[in-house]
């Protein structure tokens, strides 16, 4: 059990895909102008990651090494399309505001990276823990970026208008603002990781 918790928390901070491994950044910077987009993208991505890791770890002995990448792509693409269709059907507004970034989950490096480096060599249980950890790690960072950007850029916090339009900073709604907030978050992540390490060393 401890092993699974370790794998899960690994993705949250220590090996956070965005803050530490720094992969899959484009979509995360593009959609995080609103919190609801951040949550939607995070959950969609977590679902695809989870299902792909489960499938690939379950069938890993039946995927020949030489064609593993194309097979991974087939599996990831299938789940991405499923998410895309389901979102279009049940949350059309959200699907519209995320636009092309849902189909682009197919080429998200986080998924490709995790299935290749982790679930192809691990059991289903470990893969589930890893996928949930990585997915949640991705989701919370997206939420953090989008809360800051939505608050400063559009003056909206958790769906409430708190800053009048005259005082918002449009910069944060646009891509440079995304980089800016993300950069600060990376340094916060590093600081937290270091603090945790020190605590471990003292013990």
């Amino acid at each position: 059990m401890k092993k699974y918790i370790g794998l899960f928390t690994n993705g949250l901070l220590k090996e956070n895909p965005l803050l530490v491994i720094m992969i899959g950044l484009c979509s995360s910077l593009a959609v995080t102008t609103r919190l609801v987009n951040g949550v939607g993208m995070g959950l969609a991505m977590t679902f695809v990651l989870l299902m792909s890791e489960i499938m690939i770890s379950a069938f890993r002995k039946m995927i020949p090494t030489s064609i593993r990448i194309p097979v991974f792509i087939i599996i990831i693409a299938a789940f991405t399309t499923i998410v895309d269709l389901v979102m279009k059907a049940y949350t059309p507004a959200l699907s519209k505001s995320m636009g092309v970034f849902i189909p682009l989950i197919v080429v998200n490096c986080i998924i490709m990276g995790r299935v290749e480096s982790f679930s192809y060599k691990s059991t289903v249980g470990e893969s589930i823990a890893d996928a949930l950890g990585m997915g949640m790690g991705y989701t919370w960072v997206l939420c953090a970026i989008s809360i800051v950007r939505e608050l400063l850029g559009a003056g909206v916090f958790l769906g409430m208008k708190v800053i009048p339009d005259e005082y918002t900073v449009g910069f944060f709604s646009q891509s440079p603002g995304g980089f800016f907030v993300f950069g600060i978050l990376i340094s916060v992540g590093f600081a937290m990781n270091r603090a945790i390490e020190r605590k471990g060393a003292v013990k």
């Binding site: 020949p64 097979v71 087939i74 499923i82 279009k88 059907a89």
Partner: protein, 372 residues
């Protein structure tokens, strides 16, 4: 070989399973996706016609007839048996493109417009969808001019987007008004239907046929450019009509903002038969507007001995600059001047064309500033 076949089968097996899975999900979600899209359009239509109880789609009966503005869908709104008006979903060029629901009532007035898509620059062109700008079109009569700077107030910093939206509204609104007049007894409009022009370069033969209708153009050698080395004559034609030489046409290439190729038609009486653009590499929305007939058409009938200086760089100039594209305009004006003078000189020397009023001794061209 054996492994190759085996691997292919493995791949195929995974692909088949994935496709079956997708087909199942698609079957479940497809009706809902379609319903969601329909509900969205309906909801938007209800914003425009809150009183209507029925929207009947008439898309098949309304055609834009234009390559520039497309009509994606059209609906007639009615309450009981009485038609209230019409909505056309139109997509056209703004700075990039916009898709707008254009509603028209039975009095030939626009109703509040609804943007479905706006791909212009965020914070500038997208302001066309905001109420400050979009609101000014409510209850606007379709017979108004829709001229930006006139009866339409532009967004500062987004004139092109503003003009694009005004043009789409005028064009789609007019079509809706005409349809209502024809089928539902609304009053008919006055004036000509607006034309959505496609800004595209012309082929040589189309340009020549427009400049010299009914004439035959034969490629001719001997029109040389001795005036200005930066303008190149690619091809020259002699124009004959009713058995007599009426003029020449010169295809000239030179610097505009990037580079452009134009055809200049010169008559025997030292006037321009006109100007046509056959190629340009200039910037979309700016220099590329030289493709607008309103610009190149203004050269028709001018004398080749005019100055062809561009306003406002030259305060006494006689050529109006394309808005935001002085350099492009200067380049075109220079080509017209050089080709015009050389063409007229050739006609004077070989075919008894009118002679210049005074001997030409060096010419004054627009000086194109260095870029970047």
């Amino acid at each position: 070989m054996k492994t190759m076949i085996k691997l292919s089968f493995v791949m195929a097996a995974y692909a088949v399973v994935a496709c079956v899975g997708l087909a199942v999900v698609y079957r479940i979600t497809a009706p809902r996706i379609e319903a969601a899209a329909g509900a969205e359009v309906n909801e938007r239509l209800r914003v425009i016609f809150p009183d209507a109880d029925k929207f009947s789609e008439v898309t098949a009966n309304v055609h834009s007839g234009s390559k520039v503005v497309a009509f994606n869908q059209a609906f007639v709104a009615s309450k009981g048996d009485e038609a209230l008006g019409m909505v056309i979903k139109a997509t056209g060029p703004t700075y990039k493109t916009s898709t707008i629901l254009v509603g028209v009532n039975m009095k030939r007035e626009l109703l509040p417009i609804v943007f479905l898509e706006n791909n212009d620059t965020p914070g500038l062109g997208t302001k066309t969808a905001e109420s400050d700008f979009a609101g000014q079109f409510s209850s606007k009569s379709l017979d108004d001019a829709f001229a930006v700077g006139g009866d339409v107030e532009a967004i500062s910093g987004a004139t092109i987007s503003s003009r694009g939206v005004a043009d789409i509204l005028k064009f789609a609104g007019y079509a809706a008004g005409a349809y209502l007049a024809e089928h539902h007894g609304a009053p008919a409009g006055s004036g000509d239907a607006p034309v959505a022009v496609e800004l595209a370069p012309m082929e040589n033969d189309v340009a020549l046929a427009e400049l010299f209708p009914g004439a035959t153009c034969t490629v001719v050698e001997g029109i040389a450019n001795n005036l200005e080395s930066s303008v190149v004559f690619d091809k020259t034609w002699i124009v004959e009509k009713d058995g007599a030489v009426s003029g020449v046409a010169i295809q000239a290439r030179g610097q505009t903002y990037k580079a452009s190729t134009v055809i200049v038609g010169v008559n025997r009486d030292r006037t321009l038969a006109g100007l046509r653009i056959v190629a340009t590499g200039d910037t979309k929305n700016y220099g590329r507007n030289m493709l607008d007939p309103a610009f190149y058409g203004a050269f028709t009938g001018k004398s080749v001995d005019d100055r062809f200086m561009v306003k406002p760089a030259d305060p006494d100039g006689d050529v109006d600059s394309i808005s935001g594209a002085t350099i492009s305009t200067m380049g075109v004006a220079n080509m017209v001047k050089v080709a015009g003078l050389e063409g007229a000189a050739f006609l004077a020397a070989s075919y008894g064309g009118k002679k210049p009023p005074t001997a030409i001794d060096g010419i004054e061209l627009n000086s194109i500033p260095d870029q970047e």
